[in-house]
């Protein structure tokens, strides 16, 4: 059983403490994701484990042996490192680079044997680099070179593989291929894998263990689902995030929300009449702009409904795929009456949700300002033989403001808000004066 034991490690650059009291036990089969914001000490932790940066305090034991008292060669037989920066300036061929991985297993006076070649070949087959064998590494693409470097690490036949941000220069398919490869090594060969990784979703998808670092200390460590919680993410990354289970990959996934803007909370409640995803981005933007948002009526399972759930937006909802009942209609009207503005998106209308347009009409009657986003022509989204079209016409003549898209809506909302402010802040005499000036 391979065991890595990090005990009370403390690392400094000059007088600045980078790592403080780090304690870890990592064992065979662990695929450890080291996560944390920039400067939290991820790379430093890997450096101290790979013997590049000697800790000021604490010990690092690999199979109960202090790695700092091992010979370089002996450590290299057990531990391989894939560095963050993989540029190689000498024009060695890929095969030559991979064969360098055999070096710790060779004596100073030896040439590579056939078995070394066989091991190198297997490593290159695994990383899908065999066809690159004769190419110069300095002329390979970032992804190809990274796979060659991983092949070199595999040729070392390590018990523990350290990767420092291995995916930085890679496109998505290369990222997935490399993580798949590393995961299978971890599972099949029992290699301990530790990787510093920025992408929380890739960490969530592949790692089974996580270490969350914050300002040089371990904030949380353990099973992935224990570490990757929205509370932890919030307190370390200062970002609101939704953590859900992805049913396709059967792994956690994280949706970070934009960091809260400095824009002040506006004393303005907007009710959205939307559906089928037409309100999704608007909900997020309005929240970020500081509006309070409600929505309805939406069917459960509708995209907009799910978004509203994510964003904790109050919704009047109806059972899945069901027309709006009398009760929900009334609930919705009650919600609308509390709003200061109502917005209708370019949602398709059928008999099931035609009630929502009626509700908008009610709002207009009550004197609540009504905006209609007319992005998609009503003819193409009216499935009610013209009833919806007629209702919209009615809204227009009743004083609803029609805008072309979201941007125009936001602009109009700002304008009307400024007007409101002015009405509040500016003494009436001046406002009257202004009005008079405009009239003339």
């Amino acid at each position: 059983m391979v065991l890595l034991n990090v005990d009370g490690v403390e690392c400094c650059y000059g007088s600045i403490k980078i790592l403080e009291n780090v304690n870890l036990i990592v064992k065979e089969g662990d695929f450890v994701g080291i996560i944390g914001p920039n400067g939290s000490g991820k790379s430093t932790l890997l450096k101290s484990i790979s013997r590049t940066l000697k800790p000021h305090k604490g010990t690092i034991l690999l199979d109960n042996k202090n790695i700092y008292s091992l010979k370089s060669m002996d450590l290299a037989k057990q531990m391989a490192v894939v560095p963050q920066d993989n540029t190689i300036s000498f024009s060695f061929t890929a095969l030559e680079v991979v064969l360098m991985g055999r070096s710790p297993h060779m004596s100073r006076f030896q040439m590579e044997t056939e078995s070394d070649m066989a091991i190198a070949r297997k490593a290159m087959d695994l990383t899908n680099t065999w066809h690159l064998a004769g190419r110069f590494v300095n002329e390979l693409s970032g992804g190809e070179r990274q796979r060659v470097i991983i092949a070199r690490a595999l040729a070392q036949k390590p018990k523990i593989l350290l990767l420092d941000e291995p995916l930085t220069y890679l496109d998505i398919i290369n990222q997935l291929e490399i993580m798949d490869l590393v995961k299978s090594l971890c599972e099949k060969e029992g290699i301990i894998v530790m990787t510093a990784i920025h992408d929380l979703n890739l960490a969530a998808r592949y790692c089974n263990t996580a270490i969350l670092l914050n300002k040089g200390k371990i904030f949380s460590a353990g099973r992935l689902d224990e570490v990757l919680t929205s509370e932890n993410i919030k307190s370390v990354f200062k970002v609101d995030a939704i953590v859900k289970k992805n049913l396709v990959t059967n792994s956690l996934y994280i949706i970070p929300l934009s960091p809260p803007k400095s824009s002040p909370i506006k004393n303005c409640a907007i009710h959205l009449i939307c559906g089928a995803g037409t309100g999704t981005s608007l909900m997020k933007i309005l929240l970020e702009e500081g509006y309070s948002v409600t929505a309805g009526v939406l069917n459960v399972l509708d995209t907009d409904f799910e978004t509203a759930e994510f964003l904790n937006i109050p919704v009047t909802s109806e059972a899945p795929f069901s027309p709006i009942t009398e009760k929900t209609r009334k609930d919705n009207l009650a919600m609308i009456s509390k709003a200061s503005t109502v917005v209708v998106t370019s949602v398709p209308f059928g008999h099931g949700n035609l009630q929502n347009l009626e509700a908008a009409k009610e709002a207009l009657k009550k004197g609540i300002p009504l905006f209609v986003i007319d992005e998609v022509p009503i003819e193409s989204r009216d499935f009610t033989q013209g009833q919806a079209t007629a209702l919209l016409e009615g809204l227009k003549s009743g004083g609803a403001v029609f805008v072309k898209n979201q941007d125009e809506l936001l602009h109009m909302l700002n304008v009307s808000e400024e007007k409101l402010k002015m009405a509040k802040n500016v003494p009436p005499s001046v406002a009257d004066h202004l009005k008079a000036a405009r009239a003339s």
Binding site: S72, A76, I88, S89, F90, F92, L95, M100
Partner: protein, 359 residues
């Protein structure tokens, strides 16, 4: 090219390497022979071969010594042969040192004088010429040459000492302190030259490098430095390959980077100091020969080191031959020739390559 084909050529490469080395050695021997033929007195090839054959045990019986004139024998054995061999040894040493420095520093600008060996030697030589009156000779080296050797080593040691941070010697610090110490010593050198009066011509001539006053003893003196130095380094060529991937990577591949680096720098500096002591500061060889060789045979130090050494030997022998005949009476300094001959050839190699060259 498919992987299997590459694997095949890789496995066959040790025989390819042998072929390269044998070819180069033959070429070097021919160069030496031709170079022995070049000079003021004309001595035919057959006579040269007879003279050389006479020196070889078991072979000398079959050689008719009647055809050899004593003058020719003296010229070849006492003047030309030591000179040519010294040129070969210095060329091999400087080129090998250049390979080591470039590999250790991963820097194409690195050459055998990077850590101040040349500047140190210059100062040492000048100090001896100007201020040391006692004439002593140790193992074939005169006072000034001895001073050059010692000063060269002291300078490298000083540079290493300056750039030490804790137990480590970071590459960039080492490079910079090498450059700075070089500049400092050159300033001192200039100062001394300005006050040297009559001795100036001699100093400048020596600094430019040359082999005009070589005696056998000096050849024997430099021989172990070059041979043992290259032989020892050969066992570290795989480490040099890994060092060229970067210090961290080398360490992760099991190289004790600090120790190996210091050791190799020490070896390279000893070779350089010995070379400079007997022949003065010959530039270009330690910079360009490793590049030339790398351009042709690739960056693997296991072949690069010996191939560069032989190429360097050949190159300097040719340059010295040119120096001897180029201007009749007054010899050109060989350092001038190396640059004049080497640069066009190097440009040709650079331009010939389809892809951009990186170290």
């Amino acid at each position: 090219m498919s992987g299997d084909k590459v694997e095949g050529t890789y496995i066959k490469r040790s025989s390819r390497w042998k072929l390269i080395l044998v070819t180069l050695i033959v070429a070097l021997l021919v160069t030496i022979l031709v170079s022995l033929n070049i000079g003021y007195a004309s001595i035919s090839f057959s006579e040269i071969l007879d003279i050389l054959g006479k020196q070889i045990p078991f072979l000398n019986g079959s050689i008719n010594s009647a055809s050899i004139s004593p003058t020719s024998e003296a010229i070849i054995l006492q003047i030309r042969l030591p000179r040519v061999l010294a040129g070969a040894l210095v060329g091999a040493g400087l080129a090998a040192a250049g390979v080591i420095y470039q590999g250790v520093f991963r820097n194409p600008m690195a050459d055998s004088y990077l850590l101040g060996a040349s500047a140190g030697a210059s100062v040492g030589y000048t100090v001896a010429v100007l201020y040391v009156t006692s004439a002593l000779t140790v193992i074939g080296l005169g006072t000034a040459q001895l001073f050059a050797f010692i000063f060269a080593l002291l300078t490298v040691f000083l540079v290493l000492l300056i750039s030490r941070v804790g137990t480590k010697i970071p590459t960039t610090t080492l490079l910079l302190s090498g450059i700075v110490v070089n500049i400092f010593l050159l300033a001192i050198e200039t100062l001394m030259e300005l006050r040297s009066g009559q001795a100036l011509t001699g100093i400048v001539a020596w600094l430019a490098g040359g082999f005009s006053n070589i005696v056998w003893l000096q050849v024997w003196t430099i021989l172990p430095f070059v041979f043992i130095g290259i032989a020892v380094t050969y066992f570290f060529t795989r480490d040099l390959n890994m060092l060229s991937m970067g210090d961290d990577t080398a360490q992760h591949l099991g190289v004790n980077t600090e120790r190996v680096r210091i050791f190799l720098l020490a070896v390279a500096s000893l070779i350089t100091a010995a070379a400079v002591a007997i022949s003065g500061v010959i530039g270009f060889v330690g910079l360009i020969i490793p590049h030339m060789t790398r351009l042709v045979i690739g960056p693997d130090h296991r072949i690069l080191l010996p191939a560069s050494a032989i190429t360097g030997a050949m190159f300097l022998v040719i340059c010295d031959a040119v120096a001897r005949v180029a201007t009749g009476a007054a010899e050109l300094p060989v350092g001038v020739i190396t640059a004049l001959v080497g640069t066009p050839f190097f440009i040709y190699l650079l331009r010939r390559r389809k892809t951009s060259y990186s170290l």
